[in-house]
Amino acid sequence: MSRQKKGISSFWISTIIALLLSIFLTMASYLGGIYFGVFNNALILDSVNKTSYYNAIMDYTLDKSQSLAIPMGLQPEVFDNVFTLDETYAEGNTLLQANLNGNEYIPDTSKVVDRLVSNINLYLKQNSLTVTNEQQTNITTFANIVANEYFQSLSLPYIKYYTNLRNMVSKLVYVGIPVLLLLSAFAIFLLMKMQRWVHMSLRYIVYSTLAASLMTAILPVYLLITGSYKHLNITPEYFYNFMVHYITESLFTFIYISLLLFVISIMIMTILFFKKRELIKKKAR
């Protein structure tokens, strides 16, 4: 084989290996993004805190409870101080943490029931209204219905599906990332072996890392710019706000990984530059 033909085939084989390397790195980046972004418990807790989730739950539950009270002939003031932010935050957070860890937790709503029954009785007393035993039972039943609504609001929708999915994906990540990194290492090894000069091998690696950086970023950047994920058809509003914040943060995780790959590319390019200069100096001597 002539030297020129050998050079051409070496170029194409190196290009194909570099392409495969970029695909391995992209897949590893996406798996990393899914693990550290999409299925990151800290990100969920952060999104809950930053979207005033528990304040919104309180307002939502209060509004719903007041609507439930109308057919009972009760005034909105019977709900004064029934729901407190401290309690909502504490119970909601405990429930969320338990669910994220795959555990069951039933929030303590007994205080809500007690305060509501007490408020209703006070309201009846202030208005000189007497109630039958049946009506007294209905008050307790109503307070329990409200407490159940409160409990339903505290529970993050779809959290159990999320936990199951996360457990499945985690297994894939634990196997996938090491396998992809091993394949990447093998591809780098082949590139190193194929080229006579180190800087030539590094060049192909830079192509791969830059391509991986680009491939990792394109989809999240597209989604962030178009904001199409903000068209999510979910209710209530506080859950929508939480989801949008959570997805935005998850997409940024992919951008950070992409930036990391870009920085690695720059570092390799710097090494490449010095290696090349070293070689030129050697040749000049």
Partner: protein, 212 residues
């Protein structure tokens, strides 16, 4: 330059491979996506109620009305007024039955028809507010629904107390303009709310919507 076009070339090839690999499931992904993604950002301003209701002028004697003259209400729109003088019922009618609507008047289930279409109309309101007068409605009473396009009268044919989960209390697929009104039962304060009070009426007058 190679540092630009080579990564770009890899990116195009990489995405091309993913696209080809995902081609068989793209339709499925797209279908599921369309279920949860709408064309616009959702509007949560449900508390804002609007109105298209204006009292009709010299329209009560018409037998038919062209469909083009009827503005279809959207959820949260006040489009009619319901009255029953003998029972003391006089309330605004909104399209939809959200909590906000039921705090402000009578709500219409969006799966039912509006007057004039020859189909059932299902209305609900709270037993302690707008539909409290339902307890006074008697068989034979006349209930009037005034819309911007015509005045409709219904003669009460029956009343019934049913379990709150009993769906057999109304038939929304019948081809008859039956007015069905319901509210929580009993009417007194601090009731069990386990039952519903139904009032049924048949259309006796009012223009028919003409689609020709």
């Amino acid at each position: 330059m190679a540092y630009i076009y080579m990564p770009l070339f890899f990116t195009i090839i990489g995405y091309g491979i993913v696209y080809v690999a995902a081609l068989p499931i793209l339709d499925v992904i797209s279908s599921y996506g369309n279920l949860i993604i709408s064309s616009n950002t959702p509007n949560f301003d449900n508390n804002q109620l609007t109105s298209i209701f204006e009292a009709p002028v010299n329209k009560e004697d018409r037998a038919t009305i062209p469909a083009s003259e009827v503005t279809m209400p959207t959820e949260g729109t006040l489009y009619a007024q319901i009255t029953c003088i003998s029972a003391g019922l006089d309330a605004p009618v909104y399209f939809g039955d959200t909590n906000t609507i039921l705090k402000n008047g009578v709500g219409q289930y969006t799966g039912s028809s509006i007057p004039g279409f020859g189909l059932p109309i299902l209305l609900a309101a709270h037993n302690t507010t707008y539909f409290l007068p339902l307890q006074n409605v008697q068989v034979g009473d006349i209930v009037t629904i005034t819309t911007s396009y015509g005045i409709y009268k219904y003669k009460i044919t029956a009343t019934k107390i049913a379990d709150k989960n009993a769906t057999s209390s109304y038939n929304l697929v019948q081809k008859k303009e039956q007015l069905i009104m319901y509210t929580c039962y009993p009417f007194n304060m601090l009731g069990t709310l386990a039952n519903r009070y139904f009032v049924y009426g048949d259309k006796i007058s009012g223009p028919v919507i003409d689609f020709k």
